[in-house]
């Protein structure tokens, strides 16, 4: 195994993982686009309080996997159970109720360009909790902004924020509904190392403060090492390895070793 990437940031402290309570359960999930199979019978359990990192090369189907979990894409075959519900059999209203318990942080942050930070945060809140007073809404917005350390940006437009700030506001927008599950799509992509470190710390803080479970899609080994309780490696449409970070990269599989070495060379 090559030299480990260095990291000095907030390290995830072991939380309480309930191994008898799978909040996400995928069985034999198959998904193709045209003639191109992307996922070939994937099985995955994510337990209450657990952060699972899905590693893989670009185009390996990582983002497809979390879009299937949240019901944005349907599997061609297989079952997807989230919080005890079959995602692909839910009526639109039931799916919306389920999604209110899932936070999804997009790779691009996906903030609403035409609204300032406050309005961005209020959109999911006022539509899911319709009886809130103005004061309660303001308090909830202030709380999540404080959680991500960006209280001063409340009246700014997304175009006035840096890449790291956008990521944080994107995460804050999901936290405002106090989700049971967080899904992060490439949370550190395109960020400088210091900001990436801050995002990694934030992911761990969120998990501890909200007692949530998370699936973190990334190809960043530093992010994987310091946010994941368990790491699974996706390649050729299947999980080829899973376990702790060290267990996964102790493998002699050339696909795993190449992924590790290239990642490290780039960082070096």
């Amino acid at each position: 195994m090559a030299t480990e990437p260095t990291q000095t940031s907030f390290k995830k402290s072991p939380g309480t993982i309930d191994r008898n309570n799978a909040v996400i359960s995928l069985r034999g999930v198959y998904r193709s686009f045209g003639d191109m199979p992307v996922l070939k019978g994937v099985d995955l359990d994510v337990f209450k309080g657990e952060n699972v990192v899905v590693l893989g090369r670009s185009g390996s189907g990582k983002s497809v996997l979390i879009k299937i979990i949240v019901g944005l894409l349907l599997p061609d075959s297989g079952t997807v159970r989230v919080l005890g519900l079959d995602v692909d059999n839910l009526a639109p209203r039931e799916l919306r109720q389920l999604r209110s318990k899932i936070g999804f942080s997009f790779q691009s942050s996906a903030l609403y360009d035409g609204m300032n930070v406050r309005a961005n945060l209020e959109v999911p809140l006022v539509r899911n909790k319709r009886n809130l007073t103005r004061k309660e809404i303001d308090e909830a917005v202030a709380q999540v902004l404080d959680d991500v350390g960006l209280s001063q940006t409340i009246n700014q437009m997304p175009s006035e924020l840096s890449g790291g700030q956008k990521k944080r506001i994107g995460i804050a927008r999901t936290l405002i509904l106090h989700p049971d599950i967080m899904l992060y799509d490439e949370p550190t992509a395109g960020l400088d190392p210091v900001t990436s470190e801050e995002i990694n710390a934030l992911i761990n803080q969120v998990q501890q403060r909200y007692n949530s479970s998370a699936v973190i899609i990334t190809h960043d080994l530093t992010c994987a090492r310091f946010t994941g309780d368990r790491v699974v490696m996706l390649s050729d449409g299947n999980f080829i390895r899973q376990g702790s970070f060290d267990e996964v990269f102790a493998s002699d599989d050339t696909r795993v070793q190449n992924f590790y070495n290239y990642n490290f060379i780039i960082k070096a």
């Binding site: 949240v70 944005l72 919306r96 109720q97 999604r99 209110s100 899932i102 999804f104 997009f106 691009s108 996906a110 903030l111 609403y112 360009d113 035409g114 959109v123 999911p124 539509r127 899911n128 319709r130 994107g170 927008r173 999901t174 509904l177």
Partner: protein, 249 residues
């Protein structure tokens, strides 16, 4: 042919979903009102200008023909018929299609390709209700108001031309103008404009909501929103005029 039929099915599905989402609660009151102001105010200045110029120029162009028969006194009523029955709804619709339709197509298209619509879906917000229903309702309800406003401004333009040439008073001009205009004409103006408004909102939202292929798709959505809605407006104009002339006049 298969692609065309699939597109038609998408349009049908979009239309059915619109009616379903428009009538079922919860309603996005705040966003609908925002869109009312947005669509109305964004178009007001250009509609004032084009309405006035249309009335002025159309009167000037018609004068010489009527003068040959010594019938310039018919100008006010001729202009009222032309503006209220045809020009105001049609010109207003074409301007709103260019200004608002393209904006809706580009805005929703860029939201689609930057995953903002997906972000609404996963945050348990109904993007169709929030983005599509509010915009289609806004264009449908505001266009009759804008068309009526353009009719008045157009008549003012016509009055300016008539006044400069014949020194006709304001009261005399408008009394002569509205002699030939009935409530049916006003009703048809409102109906036509509402149909055009729906067409503009629907076309813009449909093209934006289904935009793909990144920024190229955004440009295509904006372009298609204008081209298709203008084409449909002319087709609808032809059909409505046929119907109105057959049954109401």
């Amino acid at each position: 042919m298969k692609a065309f039929l699939l597109r038609m099915y998408d349009i049908y599905e979009f239309l059915v979903r619109f009616y379903k989402e428009a009538f079922l609660p919860p309603y996005e009151y705040k966003e609908i009102i925002n869109q009312f102001f947005d669509v109305g105010i964004r178009s007001l200045s250009i509609i004032s200008l084009t309405g006035f110029i249309t009335g002025l120029v159309f009167t000037k162009q018609s004068r010489s023909s009527l003068a040959e028969f010594g019938a310039t006194s018919w100008l006010p009523s001729l202009m009222a018929i032309a503006i209220i029955r045809a020009l105001a709804p049609l010109v207003t619709a074409l301007i709103v299609a260019g200004k608002v339709g393209s904006h809706i197509g580009a805005e929703l298209g860029s939201m689609k390709v930057t995953e903002q619509i997906e972000a609404m879906e996963v945050s348990s917000t109904n993007p169709f209700k929030f983005l599509v229903v509010s915009r289609i309702l806004a264009t449908t309800c505001i266009l009759p108001v804008l068309a009526a406003y353009m009719g008045l401004v157009g008549m003012l333009g016509a009055y300016v031309n008539v006044h400069l040439n014949e020194e006709t008073s304001f009261t005399t001009f408008f009394q002569a103008a509205f002699v030939r205009i009935s409530f049916v004409d006003i009703g048809v103006l409102v109906f036509k404009s509402a149909v055009y408004g729906f067409t503009i909102g629907f076309t813009g939202c449909f093209n934006g909501y289904y935009a793909d292929h990144g920024t190229v798709g955004v440009g295509r959505a904006a372009n298609m929103s204008v081209v298709v809605s203008m084409f449909l407006i002319f087709v609808e104009e032809m059909l409505i005029v046929q119907l109105v002339n057959s049954y109401l006049h």
